[in-house]
Amino acid sequence: MRDHKIARTLLLLMLLMSWLANPLAIDAHPMGNFSISHYAGIHVGSGFIELHYIIDMAEIPTYQEMQNTGITAEEEDPRLGAYLAEKAHAFTDRLYLELNGRPLPLQPTSEDVIFPPGAGGLPTMKLRFVYRAPLEDPTPGLTYTVHYRDDNFTGRAGWKEIVVAAEPTFALVTSSAPAHDRSAQLSNYPTDLLNSPPQDLEASFSFSPSFSTGNNPAPAGAVHPKQITPPSSVPGSMRGLRGHSSGVVDAQVSSTKSTQAGAPNETLVTKSPNSVDAYSLRANQQGTPRNKFTELVSARNLSFWFLFTAALIAAGLGALHALEPGHGKTIVAAYLVGSHGTARHAILLGLIVTAGHTAGVYLLGAITLYASKYIVPEQLYPWLGMISGIIIAVFASYLLIHAWTVENGEKLHDRGTPHSHWFASLGRRGTRERILSKDHSQSLSHEGTPSRATPKNVSVAQLLTLGITGGIIPCPAALVVLLGAFSLHRIGFGLFLIVAFSLGLAAVLIAIGLLMVYAKQFLARWKSNESVTQRWLPIASAGFMLILGLAIASRALLSTGVASGFFAHARVSSFVGVVLLGLFLGMRHSTDADHVVAVSTITAREHSVGQGALIGVLWGVGHTLTIFLVGSAIILFGLVIPPRVGLSMEFSVAVMLILLGVLNLTGALRWLTERFGPAERRTTPVTMNPAAPGNTAENFLERLRRRYGSYQIFRPLVIGLVHGLAGSAAVALLVLSTIRSPLWAIAYLLIFGIGTIIGMMLMTSAMALPIAYSDKHFEIGRYLAPISGILSTGFGLFLMYQIGFVDGLFKVNVHWTPQ
């Protein structure tokens, strides 16, 4: 994943800033620095066969050539003329072109050379020669066979490519070489898994002059360079056989290939025969970005406009980069949601993250440049990640405990009643106490109580901790930009670019932070249930941060390889992956239609987000319970659920849906609610039991029951139970197919269940939000219940039909596939 991220970022860099990119792994010759690559473009024209022959030498052979012949890597070197002439003839000694078995003499007609820079600026050399062989008066209608072979530099690694083309007056009947090259005359070496460098040093083709000129239509398709045809020689050579048998096989297969290559009469588009320009020498594309950058940056004046544009682009990249996962965006968001942050805090936090990021990049750049012998930067990344992950986790735990133990605190905050937290007695006095007292002295209500100027809930220390740890992990993209500029001795420019990059990063982070702050303030504006904003949101956000911090730390730990001696590496990483997958699948599972519909019948009647969340949690608990029980039975005891039973379970869900719907519609629900409702409804928050804060003597369940009523608790629980019944088989089988060990499989069930709880809780809260909000202003509440009732009944009926008749519960043939 990390490599993918790096690759993507680099690609982005190159696209946007193709003239600024300069990877640290300085681009050696793409084919390896001792390679010699060949290109041969054979062209059949009227009266001649032309051979465009290009040799691309990498750094080492170039140096050896220069040593042996005394030339220098300057295109104006006067000795080059003689050198090229001599080379042109030398190469022909080992080039063979035969027409119908008769060797053709190759006459050099032009020579050319360029010296593109390779690794570290050391020269490479690209030679191009054009040869002509006479073609006397070919008789129209006859087929001529040509055979070409290149014996120069045998055995040397490199890209070896041959292409064959003919003028329109000739019909290329067969050809073992394609018509279009992949390398654009050795200026680009695209290599991937299915397109490894060609290794063709021989080719054969046959052509037939046409009777009249210009009669042949332009061809439809030449052999597509990317088309992979079955090879002409079957690897019976796996056994290393050479000789008759493989020869016969070759003959057969190659004849099929040649008929596939093109129907007779198909001609191939030719480049204009006379323009040598069509084959002009170009430096490697892989080298081009660097060249352009060199030109630009080594310009005399770094003009203002250039700096401005460069800065803009760097900033844009930084902004884009911030949108990718990482860089503490989520941490920032989570923190701001959970704390009492203002817009100013958001801005400050964004700036701190950016400063941390910049410092991290500078530091890493310095290490790479000066200390790379002792410290390998790649090894630093995981440690940095682990440290910052741990710090974030610790910080999040602190926030979590803090948020959790505020017992009825929000009310007391209003009043400014002195209180303490259970952990105040622990640890040092001093900073901690001060922070705590600061945290709790700010007024939260909107009653115009003047909030004190100095104490803020969000302390600078917290912001600093969070910002630095969130931003300290430098990203490879920025490092690339910095080191690229360094390698061109533009140190100031590099530093400047990084600052611009970080500003772009900051902008996005601040925007996100502001978004969070305003969203929270919007949320807090309607205080239908303050406990959501005062208690649950901070807890949720702190919990989320904790999970994130742990995830960052554990991922980094794994990549340090420290743990690899301890665990089997693969097992642990897959364990983490499995846990995450389970959570995610669980969350997704809760969004199934029948779950949503059932739960909506309840939330439609509620008016608070907190209650909505609770409903979701209870549903999840019930659902998990059944899944766990039934699933464990399946896993541990191999319990097999016969199709009819499975279908019946799903059928019961349908029945339940109908029941719920009908109850909603008939108002019987209302009676039930009132009958078994909570002891006091509509009690004002103020008269809530002002028991001593921090009193956990009261049972949590008891409190819930009193607050919501036992009916309200059991209903979602039971619904969840029934849903769980229907789904457990599916989940258990899915788990069994991927996890072998029963213990882990059961653990996975639990994890999945937790995922469903979280997912449903989020969903019900989300459902309750608009209802709670709109309920204040409109009288929708009255209509929601019947609407959801209709929905539920309808859906239930549909399910009944589906299960009963389509899946065959009521019929003879039952087919049940656990979904």
């Binding site: 620095n33 750094e59 040593q67 050391l122 073992s176 991937d192 054969s204 070759d250 089997a568």
Partner: protein, 435 residues
């Protein structure tokens, strides 16, 4: 007409390389069925073979990609052990020894019935200096069921690794026996040509180390016959020619080897032969090429650190760099030859005490490698321990009187009497020293 054409293409195809055919075939298979892990595995093997033949690291990268794709598609069933062990081979070739080890272990865990990864485990452990564990791993290749139940592949690995182990432990004769058997097995099991040639070449190396130049030449020639233009075989023949005194032949052979792959060790050896032949200018040219390669090495982080360190030490060039390169190599490799490179660099950098400690490590398996013994002799000489020095130098000459183009003579002259000359190998000095 068409028949002639077919014949022509025949020749064209037949000359095309076996490995290239394999690559094309499996590329086609993969394109037909991109979800089949087996084809990616085979494609990776083909790329791996190509990489060995050409020395071009592009193919290691491609092999890695193909094998990773195979593992992506299938990583938990026993069938995944094939791609896993092949990927381990790629990492080994890239000198990522720890990762190679881990993957090889995983391959065995996936499929305990395939014991071939033990060879790789042993190789990786050897490179990391854990020789005891390496011997244990190699021992696993001897299946308890006896010769019948083993496949040829396992038997080949068993013999070739036994040979390596024997040589390192100082029993060169056993090493030769085992390697001869390995050659036969490789031919019988129709391994890839380059692999057979490699085995024959290694046999030649063993013969050379033991001083048997005649058999060494035969083995190298066989390798060349098996795989025309095999650069290692050419270099081996060059070494033998030089030892026999046929310097111009040695020069030609080294040049041919360099034309295929210009490894620093070949270029450096060519320079030494030129120097021995009296052609200082040409010698210098070759040394310049090696230094040029060193510059590229720094950029590309290729795997030449040890060879370059030894080159610098041997020729008294950039001695601080020699030490630094040896230390850098030491970070990833702890085998006896890395200790040896370190010892030689320390010696040349006038730190004979530490050099002695390093050479002790290098000799801890009691390998009968004349170069190691020679280095030890020179180090102890510098420390003033003439007895030990003499002992080592004598042993070096006894094993192979012609073990090096210069050092064999240097060993003899050092034995003969106290020498005030510096012990460096400069082209001019050694020309003077020629009999």
């Amino acid at each position: 007409m068409s028949f002639l054409f077919l014949l022509a293409t025949n020749r064209a195809q037949a000359r095309q390389h076996e490995t290239d055919n394999q690559i094309h075939f499996f590329q086609w298979k993969v394109s037909q069925d991109p979800d089949d892990f087996f084809n990616y595995d085979r494609l990776g093997v083909a790329y791996l073979q190509k990489a060995r033949e050409t020395g071009d690291i592009t193919y290691y990268n491609l092999a890695g990609k193909a094998l990773e794709k195979s593992i992506d598609l299938e990583s938990t069933q026993p069938e995944a052990s094939s791609a896993t062990k092949h990927l381990a081979t790629v990492y080994y070739a890239e000198h990522r020894f720890a990762e190679s080890l881990a993957l090889a272990q995983r391959a065995i865990n996936l499929n305990p019935r395939d014991i071939t990864p033990y060879a790789l485990i042993g190789d990786a452990r050897s490179e990391m200096g854990d020789y005891e564990k390496a011997w244990d791993a190699y021992a696993q290749l001897q299946s308890p069921g006896g010769a019948q139940s083993e496949t040829n592949a396992v038997r080949y690995l068993e013999q070739s690794r036994e040979s390596a182990e024997s040589f390192l432990k100082g029993d060169t004769k056993s090493a030769i026996d085992h390697m001869r058997r390995a050659v036969n097995l490789s031919v019988e099991s129709r391994m890839a040509k380059e692999s057979i040639a490699w085995t024959q070449f290694t046999l030649g190396e063993n013969y050379f180390q033991s001083g048997d130049l005649a058999n060494a030449e035969t083995a190298y020639a066989d390798a060349l016959k098996t795989y025309p233009d095999y650069h290692r075989a050419l270099a081996g023949l060059a070494k033998v020619s030089c030892a026999a005194g046929h310097l111009s032949q040695a020069i030609e052979l080294y040049k041919k080897a360099i034309n295929v792959i210009p490894l620093p060790v070949y270029v450096s050896a060519l320079g030494d032969v030129y120097a021995r032949d009296g052609d200082a200018a040409e010698a210098k040219k070759q040394y310049d090429v090696v230094q040029y390669i060193a510059r590229l090495n720094a950029f590309n982080q290729t795997v030449y650190n040890r060879e370059l360190s030894v080159f610098y030490s041997d020729h008294d060039l950039h001695l601080p760099d020699a030490l630094q390169l040896a230390r850098k190599e030491f970070e990833i490799r702890h085998d006896i030859y890395t200790w040896d490179a370190l010892a030689w660099a320390l010696y040349k950098n006038s730190q004979p005490q530490q050099a002695a400690q390093a050479i002790k490590e290098a000799l801890r398996l009691e390998t009968n490698d004349p170069l190691l013994l020679f280095h030890a002799g020179m180090i102890y000489k510098r420390l003033g321990d003439n007895e030990k020095a003499g002992d080592y130098l004598r042993r070096a000459i006894a094993v192979n009187p012609k073990f090096h183009v210069f050092y064999a003579d240097l060993a003899r002259t050092t034995l003969q009497g106290p020498s005030n000359r510096s012990l460096a190998v400069r082209s001019q000095e050694t020309i003077d020293a020629r009999p």
